[in-house]
């Protein structure tokens, strides 16, 4: 009998990867979707179970569940997976007529146990331990850096974005077992959500400060990068190097994601993957229009691409990070 297939929908790369890792170890076949775009892909296989994050970038998981049922014809159980309070999750799952919820506080073992409960299967498998800790460190530090970056000036102030980052961090930290960090992130999220409409209130600033204290090495930034790229070279190699060089990294995987981020154009460097530049013919014009002058292309060869300096992947992630440091404004 073929392995039962689970679709994990979560916009946090760490959570998506960690949950998929744990479920695969337990013998399930796992697909990961990080946003609405992924869910719309026609090649997305029909799963036997959907684990649906609630707070995504563009919409909410309980609303998307309705779309998956209505538009994609998914008839399998859909279970909410979130770090929101249990009571709220229970209500939202019931309102959307879904098949319950799992708190990220249950950890990876709890998630696997619930998947087995819904789909059946042996409970003799080794209970997974929280894995991918290196990835968690980088992801969490970047989230804290981004919160501090957004909160640093009135021009960038965006309580909703702070709440979003803090919420995602709480979920990641729950899964990684980083309880104190999860609690600080939750407190930051709750206060930003509650008081955000009132602007940069002292309470939100205090919560942001408290979060920063939980991850002291995130409080010093070597500069802010807007990175338009994706793929394993960036995720597995370049991101850890840029993080360890101290950069705050704002990511975009497509032009649609990049546009709103370009508007806050006070980056020390915008790094654009040449493959993405080629796929999106208007991208460079839109970057130039946003008056972003300090732009570099991540390409196969060094030199110049589209009138911008090119940084070669060929030298490896460490060399790319050094080149980024050189080009980034001080």
């Amino acid at each position: 009998m073929s392995a039962r297939r689970i679709l994990v929908v979560d916009d946090s790369p760490f959570t998506g990867e960690a949950v998929a890792w744990a479920l695969r170890r337990a013998g399930f076949t796992v697909d990961v979707a990080r946003d609405l775009w992924d869910l719309e892909k026609p090649e997305l296989p029909t799963p036997d179970l959907v684990l649906m994050d609630v707070v995504l970038q563009e919409a909410f998981g309980d609303d998307l569940a309705m779309l998956l049922r209505g538009m994609r014809g998914f008839e399998c159980p859909i279970v909410l997976l979130s770090s929101l309070p249990d009571q709220l999750l229970e209500r939202r799952a019931a309102d959307a007529e879904l098949d319950g919820y799992i708190s990220k506080k249950s950890g990876l073992a709890g998630i696997v146990a619930r998947a087995r409960e819904v789909l059946g299967g042996s409970s003799d498998d080794e209970t997974p331990a929280a894995g991918t800790s290196g990835r968690f460190e980088v992801t969490a530090r970047q989230r804290v850096r981004r919160v501090l970056h957004i909160a640093a000036t009135d021009a960038r102030w965006n309580a909703s974005a702070i709440a979003g980052e803090a919420h995602a961090l709480a979920g990641d930290a729950d899964l990684a077992g980083a309880t104190t960090l999860a609690e600080a992130a939750r407190a930051c999220r709750d206060v930003a959500q509650r008081l955000g409409a009132g602007g940069a209130t002292p309470e939100i600033r205090a919560a942001v400060e408290a979060l920063g204290r939980e991850m002291p090495d995130a409080r010093v930034s070597a500069g802010t990068l807007l990175v338009a790229t994706s793929g394993p070279f960036y995720q597995d190699e370049l991101l850890p190097e840029l993080d360890s060089a101290g950069f705050t990294i704002v990511e975009a995987q497509s032009l649609v994601e990049l546009r709103p981020k370009l508007h806050a154009a006070d980056y020390d460097l915008i790094l654009v993957d040449d493959a993405l530049r080629t796929a999106e013919p208007t991208m460079m014009a839109e970057i130039d229009k946003a008056s972003a002058t300090n732009v570099a292309i991540l390409a196969d060869k060094p030199g110049e691409v589209a009138g911008k300096p090119a940084i070669s992947r060929g030298g490896g992630a460490k060399r790319v990070a050094e080149e980024v440091q050189r080009l980034a404004k001080k």
């Binding site: 609405l36 775009w37 869910l39 719309e40 919409a59 609303d63 965006n158 546009r259 370009l262 806050a264």
Partner: protein, 288 residues
């Protein structure tokens, strides 16, 4: 009645699919993938409401908003901004956006906000409007202010009103009160289109005096927008001060009348006395 028309302008196919799925049960939904296409569709479709993203190719959402608010015909269309760029909310509201919704958007919040915004826009349009009841008398169409209307009845049995002019020749009892029947056809010297039993009575009240206007038909009430209310024509001829306005309704352009002005002041004052005489034993008898 046609569903209100919502135009969604966003460069994300996923968001367009999401909003269409959420709204299409209650609204007619059109979509555009960039600002320029959105502006073109606004001009062609004149939607009842626009949902607008900010960061888009071709023409940024803020520029679309500015152009809509500057174009006379389209400036009244309410615009809701949906964006993750919360820091731009104040500028958008200052430019005339009706509301700013921060992504991620909840389906029920979106539905509620669209409904509230459409209601508010409707109420704003109705400000300065005139609610009228269009009437048919013979071949004539005319209207009266809806605020004056108390009841609309099928023709009841009436009793003659001796001493009144030909157009004020009957009365009837309504909730214990005697109400005179004012035959507008007789007053204007035109023939009724319907027999007496098929006519209707529209009971109006002015200064605590009720009158029942005898008419051949009554259309649904309408709120006439300020743009469809023409300047009042100076008093003239038979209308003798009774003309309130000329309005454009779905039944055509028609005068709005103040019927008591078609009766002399003395006649209005003596209505009570005429009725009292009519209800005396000598004046009894039903005419319909």
């Amino acid at each position: 009645m046609a569903q209100p028309h919502v135009l969604v302008i966003d460069d994300s196919e996923a968001i367009l699919a999401f909003t269409r799925a959420v709204l299409s049960a209650s609204y007619a939904v059109s979509t555009a993938r960039n600002g320029r296409e959105g502006l073109d569709l606004c001009q062609r479709l004149v939607p009842d409401l626009v949902l607008l993203d900010l960061s888009m190719p071709e023409l940024d959402g803020e520029a679309v908003l500015e152009r809509l608010k500057q174009s006379g015909d389209l400036s009244a269309i309410p615009v809701i901004i949906i964006s993750s760029e919360q820091q731009r909310a104040e500028a958008c509201i200052a430019r005339g956006a009706a509301a700013f919704l921060v992504k991620p958007v909840r389906a029920d919040e979106l539905l509620a906000l669209v409904s509230r915004t459409l209601d508010a826009a409707k109420a704003k349009r109705a400000q300065g409007s005139l609610a009228v009841l269009p009437l048919r008398i013979g071949t004539m169409n005319l209207a009266i202010p809806l605020a004056d209307v108390r009841h609309v009845l099928l023709q009841p049995a009436t009793r003659p009103l001796p001493g009144g002019p030909s157009y004020l020749a009957a009365f009837f009892e309504l909730f214990g009160e005697s109400v005179c029947v004012f035959d507008l056809a007789a007053r204007f010297g035109v023939d009724h289109a319907k027999t007496v039993l098929d006519r209707m009575l529209v009971v109006v009240e002015y200064d605590r005096v009720k009158l029942a206007l005898c008419v051949d038909g009554v259309h649904d009430p309408e709120a006439v927008l300020p743009a469809d209310i023409q300047a009042v024509v100076p008093d003239s001829g038979d209308l003798a001060g009774a003309l309130r306005a000329v309005v454009k309704t779905t039944q055509g352009t028609m005068p709005v009348l103040h019927p008591p002005a078609l009766l002399s002041r003395g006649l209005v004052r003596s209505l009570g006395e005429l009725v009292r005489k009519a209800v005396s034993p000598r004046g009894s008898g039903a005419s319909a």
